[in-house]
């Protein structure tokens, strides 16, 4: 884990002195990704670079696994910490294998272990070792280069990774893919990661915790949910964005708010007139028609009047059904698009598991935000 203790960094001296970081204290727990977030110039990259002594600390201490980083030799310290930067910085004069092998070589691993590790990492990042081991960076696309950059960072299996906007130079489509792949990788290797970003979406997606900086000060250090639902001040609220309620919905799933046993269900084989009577009695505005376990559509009293056949013959088809794993944000978007306030939810096998309504969504947001109304 990484512990920052009253860390201050001042560049320059006298009149031209710039305080890049002002008394920063917080801890990154083992196995967590903490995103250092903030606008440009807030000090997040500086803090990262202090962590592996690429810049010197003016005041305060940084402890890695209990040890003050100033106690060991700078060069040796960096060999134990992974470092991945935005511009990727692959060495064009070295092959892919040689690039990845840099730190293991510095640490004195034997040749066979290095070769195995290189192949292992290439496979983990979905690049065939046979094809890519002896290629050169110039032959790879931006996304591939970035994958190699990450592989190079974890090559010597360091416990800690420092990443400075590693996916910043990649186009948005590939960036999403890389982020997903990285999260999958992290689930396997569980590194302690400090990840600098200026993008609130990236932070929400990737972080276990977010450390939000402004002008050198640590403004808030919380989980993404808390940052979204309980912004400490106007700066945080504005940085998160006026659409933070929608962002919170992005973190919630259908199954969090689902109504699993709605009453207004009818079978497809039921006769239309029976259904009409049923609906009259229970004063239902509409009913969902299930064929077996699948929702095939809905019926209203208007539709059923004067109809003779079965429910399935007259049911109006649902333009869309949502999965129970879908984010509420997508669900809300669908509701708006199709002008519906109740949608059916299905599980992965396609079976009906319940309904989700606009009211469900409204209620949950109200609960979240009112809880913290002080």
């Amino acid at each position: 884990m990484i512990r920052y203790d009253s860390v201050t960094k001042i560049f320059g001296a006298g009149k031209d002195a710039v305080t890049a970081l002002d008394n920063i204290s917080f801890t990154i727990e083992k196995g967590e990704i903490v995103v250092l977030l903030g606008p440009s110039g807030c000090g997040k990259t500086t803090l990262l670079r202090l962590s592996n002594r690429l810049e010197s600390i003016t005041q305060g201490n940084i402890y890695i696994n209990g040890q003050d980083i100033m106690d060991s030799d700078g060069v040796k310290l960096r060999q134990k910490i992974g470092y991945v930067i935005q511009e990727i910085g692959l060495f064009p004069n070295k092959s892919i294998a040689e690039n990845i092998a840099v730190v293991p070589r510095l640490l004195g691993w034997n040749k066979n272990n290095i070769k195995q590790r290189v192949d292992q990492l290439l496979s983990m990042t979905n690049l065939d070792p046979e094809l890519y081991r002896n290629r050169y960076p110039a032959e790879l696309s931006g996304g591939q280069q970035q994958r190699i950059g990450v592989a190079r960072g974890v090559a010597a299996d360091p416990e800690i990774l420092l990443m400075d906007e590693p996916f910043g130079a990649i186009d948005p489509i590939n960036r999403e893919q890389l982020q997903d792949e990285f999260l999958k990788l992290q689930a396997k290797i569980k590194k302690t990661i400090a990840f600098v970003s200026h993008d609130i979406h990236e932070a929400i997606k990737m972080a276990d915790k977010i450390a939000l900086f402004s002008k050198g000060k640590l403004v808030q250090y919380d989980t993404p949910e808390l940052i979204l639902t309980r912004p400490k001040n106007k700066f945080v609220a504005d940085f998160v964005g006026a659409d933070r309620a929608l962002k919170v919905l992005g973190l919630m799933r259908v199954k969090d708010v689902i109504n699993a046993s709605p009453k207004n269900i009818v079978r497809s084989t039921d006769l239309a007139q029976d259904v009409l009577k049923f609906m009259d009695e229970k004063k239902m505005g509409f009913a969902i028609v299930l064929k077996g376990n699948r929702p095939i559509g809905y019926v209203t009293q208007k539709i059923l009047k004067y109809e003779e056949g079965k429910a399935e013959d007259v049911a109006e088809e649902y333009p869309i059904v949502v999965g129970e794993q879908d984010s509420l944000r997508d669900v809300l978007s669908n509701m708006l698009m199709h002008d519906l306030i109740i949608l059916c939810a299905i599980n992965r096998d396609g079976d009906f598991v319940g309904t989700v309504s606009y009211k469900n969504i409204q209620d949950s947001i109200r609960d979240i935000y009112s809880q913290y109304e002080d």
Binding site: Q79, Q86, G89, N93
Partner: protein, 244 residues
């Protein structure tokens, strides 16, 4: 239209080579070179020339590389600008003047010639070493530093390899100019193939002239070719690919 230009071009080339061959024959140059009386002398001048070039280039390369590298180190970086200016100034001075100045201060013979040649050849090498290393992208150096490479390792594994193309260009320029300037070394008493050329001009003896001019031209062309090969040997494949 292009096809016609190309044809004319090719024709001209052959005509020139043929014409040159005939002219050379006419001047008795071929007999001259193979004349058993002249041959050893010519060979001696050739070796002298090689000596002058080889020795001064060896010194110039070492000095130039070291100077160039030192100017990129943190402590000396601030002087890089002004030293580069002085070097550029030095490079404007005509080669004959440098030799003449060398002679004025050091007399005649091989020593002043070597001195002048070394100094003159240091300039392109030092300047290109400095330029080449400075041109290595800072993020790459940052990544290397952040990964835990020591400054020495960074110099030899990252900076020099990535600067190699520019450095080699400087070396090549220095080498070609060196061979040319060494032909003038005769004028200050250092021998070399210039002897044959200048004597040939004053005596109006074309065969002698060519006996000096052609070998030195071939030497220069061979040196140029050598640098190409050096390029393939010294420049990492990855960098050559990056250029395409």
């Amino acid at each position: 239209m292009i096809k016609m230009l190309q044809k004319i071009y090719r024709f001209l080339l052959i005509a020139i080579i043929l014409g040159a061959g005939v002219a050379a024959e006419k001047t008795g140059f071929i007999e001259y070179i193979f004349d058993p009386d002249q041959y050893p002398l010519i060979f001696r001048f050739f070796l002298q020339h090689l000596y002058l070039v080889g020795y001064s280039m060896a010194m110039a390369t070492v000095i130039g590389l070291v100077a160039g590298i030192m100017l990129t180190r943190k402590q000396l970086r601030r002087y890089a600008g002004i030293i580069m200016y002085i070097i550029s100034l030095g490079q404007t001075i005509p080669s004959l003047a440098v030799l003449a100045l060398g002679m004025s201060f050091l007399g005649i013979g091989t020593t002043p010639a070597l001195f002048a040649l070394t100094i003159y050849s240091v300039l392109p090498i030092a300047r290109n070493t400095l330029a080449g290393i400075t041109a290595v992208p800072p993020p790459m150096i940052d990544a290397a530093k952040g990964m835990g490479m020591s400054p020495t390792r960074i110099l030899f594994e990252i900076e020099l390899p990535n600067a190699m193309k520019v450095i080699l260009t400087g070396f090549r320029i220095a080498l070609i100019i060196n061979i040319g300037t060494a032909t003038l070394a005769f004028l200050i008493g250092a021998g070399g193939l210039g002897d044959l050329i200048f004597s040939g001009i004053s005596l109006m003896r074309t065969d002698q002239l060519l006996a000096g001019a052609i070998p030195v031209t071939l030497m220069a062309l061979a040196a140029d070719f050598l640098c190409e090969i050096l390029g393939v040997l010294l420049i990492s494949k990855g960098l050559r690919l990056a250029e395409e």
